[in-house]
């Protein structure tokens, strides 16, 4: 594809640092080819092809490519008789099952993305349980109401089709919520019975054309295909694809597709763009819907989110910034579920908007890349406030570096979050020894190599399609000093008696997880403070001396 959009211009861009040219049959294809490869490995490559070697083979090759001394990660010393765990954990070579998943299901991501549109009701076309489970999961993180409507299919509808329930469900949602938009996502149930949601919605619009209908956007999100991030990306793409159809007068706003970040992150990004003197259209914008004020009267729908009018008039934006290195490199979901383009590419191709593809702006260099894009778009220099934040962060890097220099981290979660976190960790001197995501086909190894190149003695081990047990199996040979990721890694941090620095989603075991700031120079500062303090706290707690001066 020869699009004239601005390429990823972070550190090491185009360095081709990791070719993914892993030795040994299945290894390379496992790390690279994504969807379906782990399965084919498990099923087809039984002879002498050990999938579990794949992630380890990758980095060795990567180290060669980067001109660094090859480090055999297999031989990484488990100092002190294996810091993590007392008893050796049973290993799980080439397991087909998943234990303690490091991912959530596809429709959950779509529901969250739809929640970020003003006046929207996220709607699941499937059985009742899916909506309830997802609501519970989301509520436990954000501590905010999260209504998800469901077409509540029963046995009859599973046999005869879910069309009538879908239509009735939307009518009921209209009656109770008066929504501006209904975001319909499918589930494994409705995808498997072959419901033609697009067709049902066309019928619906014909049958009830006399009513004041909300916009209805739909997206295919079978949970047997991808993770919540594919669902998120597919929903964002669907919003743009199905709503931003007309060319409008240029309004000069900056369109930002931020990826899955926290309400605090979204507020910070809006401030950044505002400080550049531009208005922003942020899609989706969860900041107010999932972090709202106390209310006197309950509103069926929370305030805030991206206004529908702003989505419809995206063609008038001065440029679009799309965050996520992994997103930029991979199709959003596989064929048939979401199409192959990202929301940013849709805007670029449809309206010729300049597209700036950057990473999630976590850490110094990834934020610099976002700032560079904003400087290019607005023609203005970095505003003083943020320049000072950057300066203070660099100052903090120096002040704090000794506490964390050479500490070994395991990072896990959504691919783009992991890339950002690894980038930051690398800048503050922490060595990421393992970077893992539950997603497949995320091209994680390439991005990790890009953000660590020249700054780490060895490129980290990278695993895609990982569950927490695989992460743990791998991590135990790597003697990590800390974990960085969502709260689902806690049991391993506890087992190994090392700190878990919480970031991303979900954070179910701490208060205020959705208020954590990750992005921008201020986010880098906040993350660094928490990481340094986690290490200090551990040192303090383990010390026989009751230091109160560290």
């Amino acid at each position: 594809m020869t699009l004239d959009f601005v390429e990823l211009d972070g550190p090491c861009a185009g360095g081709d640092a990791v070719s993914g040219d892993c030795s040994g049959g299945c290894g390379g294809s496992c790390a690279e080819s994504g969807a379906g490869c782990a399965d084919s490995c498990a099923d087809g490559c039984a002879n002498g092809c050990d999938c579990s070697d794949a992630p380890e083979a990758g980095p060795e090759t990567a180290a060669d490519d980067c001109g660094l001394a090859p480090v055999s990660l297999k031989a990484a010393p488990s100092t002190g008789g294996g810091k993590p765990g007392k008893a050796p954990r049973p290993k799980r070579p080439d397991f087909v099952s998943t234990t303690n998943a490091c991912k959530l299901c596809t429709p959950l991501g779509a529901m969250l993305a739809f929640r970020g549109v003003e006046g929207a009701v996220p709607f699941l076309h499937g059985s009742q349980g899916c909506a309830t489970y997802m609501r519970r999961y989301v509520i436990s993180h954000y501590r905010e109401p999260m209504d998800i409507a469901s077409s509540s299919l029963g046995e009859k509808q599973a046999v005869y089709g879910g069309g009538p329930n879908l239509k009735k469900g939307i009518l009921n949602v209209m009656k109770k919520y008066d929504p501006v938009l209904v975001g319909v996502a499918t589930t494994c149930l409705t995808e498997t019975i072959g419901d033609d949601v697009g067709g049902y919605l066309r019928e619906f619009r014909n049958e009830f054309g006399d009513l004041d209908l909300p916009e209805i956007v739909h997206v295919h999100t079978p949970s047997y295909n991808g993770t919540h991030m594919e669902g998120w990306n597919a929903a964002v793409r669907a919003l743009v694809d199905q709503l931003a159809k007309d060319r409008v007068e240029p309004h000069g706003k900056v369109a930002l597709l931020p990826g899955f970040v926290s309400p605090a992150d979204l507020r910070h990004l809006r401030d950044l763009i505002t400080d550049f003197g531009s208005d922003a259209v942020i899609l989706p914008d969860l900041s107010d819907p999932l972090d709202g004020p106390a209310l006197e009267d309950y509103t069926p729908l929370p305030e805030g989110g991206t206004p529908l009018a702003d989505i419809r008039s995206l063609s008038g934006a001065s440029a679009v910034i799309e965050c996520g290195r992994s997103l930029a490199m991979t199709p959003t979901g596989s064929s048939g579920s979401a199409g192959s383009a990202t929301a940013g590419r849709v805007l670029h191709e449809r309206f010729g908007l300049p597209l700036h593809a950057v990473g999630l702006p976590i850490g110094l260099r990834e934020t610099d890349a976002l700032v560079a894009a904003l400087e290019a778009i607005t023609g203005k220099p970095l505003p003083r406030r943020h320049e000072l934040e950057r300066g203070r962060f660099v100052d903090a890097l120096v002040d704090g570096h000794k506490y964390v220099s050479g500490k070994r981290a395991v990072v896990y979660g959504e691919a783009d979050l992991v890339i950002g976190l690894v980038s930051l960790l690398t800048e503050i001197g922490v060595h990421t020894v393992l970077a893992a995501t539950g997603t497949r086909g995320a091209h994680l190894a390439e991005s990790i190599a890009a953000v660590t190149e020249g700054l780490l003695p060895a490129t980290p081990t990278v695993i895609e399609g990982a569950d927490f047990e695989e992460i743990a199996d791998t991590a135990e040979g790597l003697s990590p000093d800390l974990l960085v990721g969502n709260s689902k890694g806690y049991r391993y941090a506890r087992q190994w008696n090392i700190p878990l620095v919480r970031a991303g989603f979900p954070i179910h075991d701490r208060f205020g997880g959705h208020r954590l700031l990750h992005v921008g120079y201020a986010g880098a500062q906040a993350l660094m403070d928490r990481i340094v303090n986690a290490v200090i706290e551990k040192t303090q707690a383990d010390s026989p001396v009751g230091y109160c001066y560290l």
Partner: protein, 474 residues
């Protein structure tokens, strides 16, 4: 629409009863206003945001606490991910139940069938974890692609020498109730498969407590003081071998009628085991339950009634003074209850009376017509009774009835909190034991801690009242 203000202002929840969706009207009733005729156990209405879950959820919560079994969810990842470590379900020993196992079905498996992957998953996981039994949960998709769960389980059972039991819990085939039944059927396959040599004639099984925060240990403590042997916990702190020999117990104690009554009925039919419905929540219900057990065994052990009376007296002597202060603070405050099964609501209404509070709203996800009729008889006139409520309805009544504390699960919490109403978690996520006499004190303290917090002075809904000179809300 270009406005940036709330686009939904017309729907701001100023709903009266009349604004209930027509289909929902038969699922709301005000106590004392005409005969109660609730249309329950309906399928949830499409488009209404039900607080209900699915068949799988019902099975999963019931079987989950069996700590030495492998719980393998056969389906795409969501169903396993959302139920990983979902409840406290404390174990005094193994903790295999706290791991989340899934076949993580992919598109290819959906097209070509998931049986091969299921067999391989069972093979590897049983070898690795050496469980006493394995439960294999069917999810929506398995019901559609037609995997023969039974055949795979039979084969693996023979190969591994442990019971491998299919749980027919396809999500779309009903609501939680069907899931409870599927779980009971699965457990019933274990019952009667081990010898009952050492079982005392004074013995019970505890059904329908899930030991979320150690409740079953409290209840076992009381029973042991009465001289009664507990054969099996079903299922809190549960063990496969105990369930296998639980048909040797002389009596089944059934709490949470919805989830395990089916198993009690099956055992009654096949083994003649009688059962008692009990509740461990609140003072009367806990005491009544223990007395009922004592009466049941009186013919075998005449001293048991006296022992039980002593136990209750002792516990109450310790409890009542501790409740007095709490009651003084909470007197006249108003509570709302929304729970999974309606049976729990009975106990909660009584428990609230002990701390001087009035229950003004009570509802459940899965109550039956009979249960709601019975519920009305213990409610004050005007109390709103609601079946399968949604957030809009709940928030409407919370405001209309001026509720001080809401008792519910995690899905209800943000509704209460958003409106500036106190909350007590009586569901999966709680970490404080609420059963027995000491549980009553914990419950009272929980409610007190929420209701008496100074934060309500600052929330919009209450700020006016708190600003009033009397300061009655202190």
């Amino acid at each position: 629409m270009t406005t940036a203000t709330a686009p939904n202002s017309t729907a701001t929840a100023d709903c009266r009863d009349a604004d209930l969706l027509d289909e929902r009207k038969k699922q709301v009733h005000r106590a004392g206003q005409g005969p109660i005729d609730m249309a329950c156990n309906r399928e949830s209405l499409a488009g209404a945001v039900s607080q209900r879950a699915c068949v799988f959820c019902g099975s999963r919560v019931v079987l989950y606490p069996i700590a030495d079994a492998l719980h393998l969810v056969h389906g795409p990842i969501g169903c396993a991910a959302y139920t990983w470590d979902i409840r406290g379900a404390l174990s005094s020993g193994p903790e295999l139940h706290r791991l989340s196992f899934s076949t993580d079905l992919q598109e290819k498996d959906v097209i070509f069938g998931g049986e091969k992957k299921l067999a391989a998953a069972l093979d590897e996981l049983i070898d690795l974890h050496q469980p006493k039994a394995a439960f294999v949960y069917s999810t929506c998709i398995v019901g559609l692609i037609g995997d023969d769960l039974g055949a795979v389980c039979r084969k693996m059972s023979e190969k591994k020498g442990i019971p491998v039991i299919p749980v027919q819990s396809e999500g779309f085939k009903g609501n939680k109730r069907e899931g409870y039944l599927a779980a009971c059927k699965a457990m019933f396959q274990l019952v009667g498969t081990a010898p009952t040599d050492s079982v005392s004639p004074l013995s019970v099984n505890i059904l329908g407590d899930f030991n979320l925060a150690g409740e079953i240990w409290i209840v076992r403590g009381y029973l042991e003081r009465m001289g009664i042997q507990v054969v099996a916990n079903i299922t809190g702190d549960g063990r496969v071998d105990d369930i296998r020999r639980c048909h040797g117990a002389a009596l089944n104690l059934v709490q949470c009628s919805g989830s395990t009554m089916d198993l009690a009925k099956m055992m009654k039919e096949k083994y003649g085991t009688p059962h008692l419905r009990v509740s461990y929540l609140g003072i009367e219900d806990m005491a009544d339950s223990l007395y009922a057990v004592a009466e049941h065994f009186e013919s075998v052990d005449p001293g048991i009634v006296e022992r039980t009376r002593d136990l209750v007296r002792e516990e109450l002597a310790a409890l009542m003074p501790r409740l007095r202060d709490i009651r003084r603070d909470l007197s006249g405050k108003r509570a709302a209850i929304y729970v999974g099964g309606s049976f729990k609501a009975f106990s909660l209404i009584k428990a609230f009376r002990h701390i001087g509070m009035n229950v003004v709203l009570v509802g459940s996800q899965t109550g039956t017509q009979e249960e709601y009729q019975e519920l009305e008889t213990v409610c004050d006139p005007g109390t709103v009774i609601i079946d399968d409520a949604n957030p809009l309805e709940l928030s409407h009544y919370v405001r209309e009835l001026d509720v001080d504390v809401f008792v519910g699960g995690v899905k209800e919490r943000p509704i209460a909190h958003k409106l500036g109403v106190g909350f007590c978690d009586h569901n999966h996520e709680r970490k404080i034991a609420l059963a027995g006499f000491e549980g009553m004190y914990n419950f009272a303290r929980e409610v007190h801690a929420s209701v008496m917090s100074p934060v309500w002075r600052f929330v919009p809904r209450r700020s006016k009242r708190a600003a009033a000179p009397s300061g009655a809300d202190a």
